[in-house]
């Protein structure tokens, strides 16, 4: 029983470069970006891209995973700084605003909740962090006790996706969050 070998240095480096370049290209061209173009700009052969990311889903997943992790961390930070309802509101704001950076990524973001991709771990952490924020706002009596993290995730994901579609809709972002929170608020 030997330990699994650490990846070779060049492989590790190629993976990192691919991720950097992919983040750049996807930010430019959206989720439909050409994989060939990414490999080209990363200075590696197509086979190398495929070795590291067997499918487009996997590559986008790696990008999304980083985003999930960041947002999960932000949830905890906001909980430490702000009162319950304000923390929740601020987090929804950051969540829905940030998606636009990767145009067209919001849909796969939503879909990632189900399957058991490697993305699932990050996605779960993200959702649990949001759930904690929600639970806190329920304990304080701000939010109805009968809504769960899944409701929050779906509604916020809807706003994130919609504001991603056009500048006109993006301008409504904060208002849409308010309206959604209105539906979740205890009365």
């Amino acid at each position: 029983m030997t330990e699994p070998r650490a990846p070779r240095a060049d492989a590790r480096r190629n993976r990192a470069i691919l991720l950097d370049v992919a983040a750049e290209v996807v930010a430019e061209q959206g989720a439909q970006a050409s994989l060939r173009d990414i490999a080209r700009r990363a200075g590696v052969g197509m086979g190398t891209l495929y070795r590291h990311f067997a499918t487009r889903e996997e590559l986008l997943g790696a990008l999304l995973g980083a985003r999930f992790d960041r947002l999960a961390a932000r949830a905890d930070a906001l909980a430490a700084e702000l009162p319950p309802l304000e923390a929740l509101t601020a987090w929804l704001d950051e969540f829905t605003a940030g998606t636009t950076v990767y145009r067209g990524l919001a849909p796969s973001l939503m879909a990632s909740a189900d399957g058991d991709s490697p993305l699932k771990a990050s996605c779960d952490a993200f959702r649990e962090a949001g759930g904690r924020l929600l639970a806190r706002a329920q304990a304080s009596g701000d939010i109805r006790p009968d809504v769960d993290g899944g409701d929050l995730f779906a509604l916020a994901g809807g706003v994130a996706t919609v504001v991603d579609q056009s500048p006109v809709l993006a301008a409504r972002r904060e208002r849409l969050i308010e309206l959604i929170l209105g539906g979740l608020r205890a009365r």
Copy 2:
């Protein structure tokens, strides 16, 4: 000054066939469906497809237009049958449920609100029909007076898009509509 000639019979027929086949193929494969495949199954050359629909947007737009028109008509029918809030709820239900038929079409549906595509006429009719339903529910005191059709369109579009992403999310559809209406309801 002569009248613009009516399109030739074969052209008219090809257009109709293309639309039928496109509806079928898009229902099967989603909005990313192969245009080549559509032309093939319609029994026409690629050039013919391009002559009738200069861009993929235009083809999808023609499909969406039909959907918009149907939903606009439904809004008026529901208004005649049901009390204000129930009519609005039923319409949102049909709207969010129907999108799944054309997987991946919801995003372009949302985006179509802005540009001045030929789609705009149908889209406007659709939004105005929804607006009338909304106004009625405001007149009866069920819905807050300060929300507008744009809010409704964005929130409902968000739900439609999200439930389109996975069966798990689709199962929450009716609940999400309830929550959204909760945010719009007068208190």
